[in-house]
Symmetry: C2
Subunit: 411 residues, 2 copies
């Protein structure tokens, strides 16, 4: 495993800093009402790449002045490597300290969506999550669907509902029908939940089936992703065509794109196969990542409680396997497509990635450090995901993926 | 019902012409390698609206020179009414014949995608189709899912896979597992099918729940839509999260956007409710349309056979109801969102909208006029949808929605 790369930006050299020189995650910020600017995080600062390209200090076909990373991603992997190489050179100890005029404290900027989500697909690739949810919905003997160990199952979500960390989430209305209700009713969801996921961002378009290796190379980077889910809407609507409005209220992502390049030292294999995979899904090398994850919940005006700790390596399928499967039918993939991993739950109760599992469908409410109990999310609660890949004396952080639930509309 | 509006473009005045002055559908064409141009069909001609806006003969914020109808749609309903009003005035008998210099014969142009599909949602709103498919998959007693009469059920599809009429469709690969197979295999689909649908195009964005009336007003127009479906991939993958790769190979649309304004005389109510709908889905006025539809199949180099005739009014839910339901959770809708109606099947065998139903899962193959039999689509077959709303001495045509299946890739 590589060690901390030291930067002349001193705050980047601490073992606790989420944004050392090894990381260099890409974001987009606004400040003082100016247009959105592409930037990279280093220590407690953002380096304004848009301003650098305008000044000629960087030259990437003016993609860095577009207020989004899509155009840069479309330049392809050699440009990705070139920019990362330049930034490491510029920001390394002994590098170009005169660039400090492009630094802005992170505390002074507002981060917005780092890229335009072209389409959004959500998978269901966590073995423990699938088993837990399946047990609650269908009993333990039918918990895992027959196709689950063969297919990285997924469904298409709504790109229009993806928002950046910090955006409030409005409790949704929907059709609800409990098992004992005679008729459905239209009301605010009473079982609103989170799903702890990682999101993979497609940086290279494809038009036809691609291999797992090609898929791995086409992924530009990763974000934390909270796939907010209305469990009561889901239970009534999801058969036979899958989740729809239950998942369309919002999906929150963290504001920094952590590149695949930064995560390279943290590659791990997917868990041992319980059934052999078809050749087109075989993973020729480790393509999952060792990333520690946690979820916190904070009632309105109260301190937060860690409600789950797990790791991305729990997934049964990697994003590369998911992306390769996504293209089997010939489905074109485009720059900015976002792939949710599926809920990441560990084997133990404390490592489950949704309240549905943590409270076992509401039967075992959680007790927070503040004394409150929760089965699902209450108005005013803030839910936050955090993640970090831990290196030797440094860590690769993702920033926060946070959202506060606000009361339902008056309809 | 209104009568034929006569135009100085003589070919538009025939009762057989799909594009009389009453219609004025919007398309985008390319000719001689020039950039894509917005146009309107009149008789056997296209009026080049891009050239007219460039010359100052029309003025819509230069949206007509963008090579797509999205920017114009975003101007909103008053602009939609204004352009239609101007075109009717200009093209009516006694109107501005000097505009003939902007006419190009339809036979000389190539029509491309009329708009950029932002996201694509496919519904399942045909009562007969849902019953037929449900019977085959789950038996007649469980045919209609319990939520079906309460919710316009839908799932998110893949916008990237939507193509314009005339685009060849490559037979997809996928995971297949027959009921008697021990393990799945990766192979070309052997049960590739069509779905006869209408597509509704969202022309006005929304951000939160909207009423059925608002939804009706937000729909700019309609196209014919063929939701190609790999039934064998679908059968193995679709539980529990719904269809995914089975529907991602291609969805073909007709090249002309027939506006809601043109269809106004053909509004009809949805069929009588079998169970009362929740208030938010109630239809305050007729919002479905009386549109005759047919499907033909032509083996390679052979003539076509009509394999189905039905009508859009068979749908249990209108596009307005579907769009309103789509927004209940707060899901933002954007200009260019495309909503597939779901397969339109009539009550009789000859009016079914998919081969799955027409051949009853392959058990009752069709015999074409050419003598060939078909259960599903064979390589080289061309499938074509056509549609028309029939007025008093005129009809509102959609153009063809056609695609030829070409052999699977060598993977």
């Amino acid at each position: 495993m590589t060690k901390l790369l030291r930067s002349w930006v001193e705050s980047a050299n601490s073992a606790q800093c989420p944004f050392p020189l090894n990381n260099l995650p890409y974001g987009v910020f606004i400040v003082n009402g100016q247009p959105a600017q592409c930037c990279v995080a280093i220590g407690d600062q953002a380096l304004n790449l848009a301003a650098m390209e305008l000044d000629g200090a960087l030259s990437f076909d003016r993609t860095l002045v577009t207020g989004s990373w899509n155009a840069f991603m479309a330049l392809g992997p050699s440009a990705w490597a070139e920019l990362r190489g330049l930034l490491i050179e510029m920001l390394a100890e002994g590098g170009r300290t005169e660039l400090s005029r492009y630094l802005i404290p992170l505390s002074d900027i507002k981060l917005v969506m780092p890229f335009a989500v072209t389409e959004y697909t959500d998978f269901y690739a966590g073995r423990n999550h699938a088993f837990n949810v399946g047990t609650m919905f269908r009993g333990p003997e039918n918990a895992l669907p027959p196709n689950w160990l063969h297919i990285p199952i997924g469904y298409n979500g709504r790109a229009s509902s993806v928002v950046v960390s910090g955006t409030p989430v409005v409790r949704p209305h929907g059709q609800l029908k409990g098992p004992n209700d005679e008729l459905p009713r239209f009301a605010p969801s009473a079982r609103f939940d989170i799903e702890l996921e990682m999101g993979a961002i497609v940086g290279t378009a494809s038009n036809g089936p691609i291999s797992v290796t090609e898929a791995f190379e086409n992924i530009f980077g990763y974000v934390l992703l909270n796939d907010w889910s209305a469990r009561d809407i889901q239970a009534w609507e999801y058969q036979p065509l899958g989740p729809f409005q239950a998942k369309a209220t919002a999906t929150t992502i963290s504001p920094w794109i952590v590149t695949a390049a930064a995560l390279e030292p943290f590659r791990v294999s997917t868990p041992e196969r319980e059934k052999p995979l078809l050749d087109y899904l075989a993973e020729p090398a480790p393509m999952l990542y060792d990333i520690d994850l946690e979820v916190t919940m904070a009632p309105e005006g109260k301190s937060e409680t860690v409600i789950s700790r797990t790791n991305y390596r729990e997934m049964y399928y990697s994003a590369a396997q998911q992306l390769a499967h996504h293209t089997t039918s010939g489905c074109p993939m485009r720059v900015g497509d976002l792939l949710g991993s599926g809920t990441i739950s560990g084997a133990t109760k404390e490592s489950r990635g949704s309240l549905l599992e943590l409270s076992w469908g509401g039967k075992e409410p959680l007790t927070l450090d503040t004394g409150e109990t929760r089965s699902f999310i209450e108005d005013g609660d803030t839910l936050t995901l955090r993640g970090a890949a831990k290196g030797d004396g440094y860590s690769i952080g993702f920033g926060e993926c946070s959202g506060k639930l606000v009361p339902a509309r008056n309809l």
